[in-house]
Symmetry: C2
Subunit: 200 residues, 2 copies
């Protein structure tokens, strides 16, 4: 009941707590994208930027490391359901997903977090475990299945093919090149080139 004694008017859209959570995660990303990275994020700064009280944040996240990992996770697109018919088709879906993730804010966040990784080992461990490894496991699954079906070489070292796919598609490879030097079908060409290299 509101203070007037009437029930509060129904709000359009998300309930208040979901909107606050959204604002907190977005504020965290904004701060991470700034030059100081993890060092620039504090519960105070996030609260001020998100327009919420600190307790609203602490109710959901016990410390800034957990908040940061959850915020970083929002930058990753969900991996779509893989068709599972051919390795090529699945790798295309993955490569296109990774390509779409590489906008500038995502890149800045990622670089700033990684650049401070040595100072925040627990944060990085959690990030690897909760955000990165589940995605790498999806890729490994596709490659394993390809070996089983005979689409890929039986002696393929999955731990080599995996960073080749991820490294080709992610910002490191592109950050230093003018973006327009990459062909529009870059993701497809990477998959087909890699596939020729790892096919049976």
């Amino acid at each position: 009941m509101s203070e007037t004694g009437r029930p509060p008017a129904p709000r359009p859209g998300r309930p208040r707590s979901a909107r606050a959570e959204q604002a907190i995660l977005a504020a965290t990303i904004d701060l991470l994208a700034e030059e100081a990275g993890v060092a620039g994020v504090s519960i105070e700064a996030v609260a001020a930027r998100a327009g919420v009280g600190k307790t609203t944040i602490y109710r959901r996240w016990p410390n800034k490391e957990k908040l940061i990992v959850d915020a970083l996770a929002t930058l990753k697109r969900p991996i779509p359901e893989l068709p599972g018919r051919t390795v090529r088709e699945d790798l295309m879906v993955l490569a296109r997903t990774f390509a779409r993730e590489q906008d500038r804010k995502h890149s800045r966040c990622f670089l700033n977090v990684m650049g401070g990784a040595d100072r925040h080992p627990e944060l990085m461990d959690r990030y690897r475990r909760e955000v990165i490894e589940p995605r790498r496991e999806v890729i490994r699954g596709v490659l394993h299945r390809g070996i089983e079906t005979g689409e890929l070489r039986a002696d393929l070292d999955i731990e080599v093919a995996l960073p080749m796919l991820v490294g080709s598609m992610t910002l490191q490879a592109r950050a230093l090149a003018p973006m327009d030097s990459l062909p529009p079908d870059f993701a497809e060409q990477v998959v087909d080139t890699l596939l020729r290299g790892i096919a049976a």
Copy 2:
């Protein structure tokens, strides 16, 4: 002549100015590797850390951007003379060179500088032009020659193969994986896999 009227005793090792330059570049790298990246570098801070006066720095570098680009260049190993006999041999030399560059301090510097790239566009332009592009040109040269000799596919898109090689070998691909998950012959396996993908 020194103030005592005698000629100064010969100093062992590098002359004083070369030693100062070395100290200045090393101090700049130390500061770049810290979390604030470019924002943490100032002529004052470099002078203090290198134990030199600010004028010693200004005598050689008119501003911090030029100093930073020169400092970043010291992190890159010189590309060895390429044998030029086969594409495979040349790519192996390049991949091994890139692999050896990926120590933690190099990675931190690079990530911190890239993370602030949007704020320092002139610095990034200069870095691309003076440090990165000459290296990319060496790789392009190897790939072009491979197409001419028929070792590589005639329709190879060099601008796809190039980021695949660089991206596979650089920290992005490795930063998020435990280093020991990569096989010791990672560079060789990357080149052979890529080569199967781009060979004629």
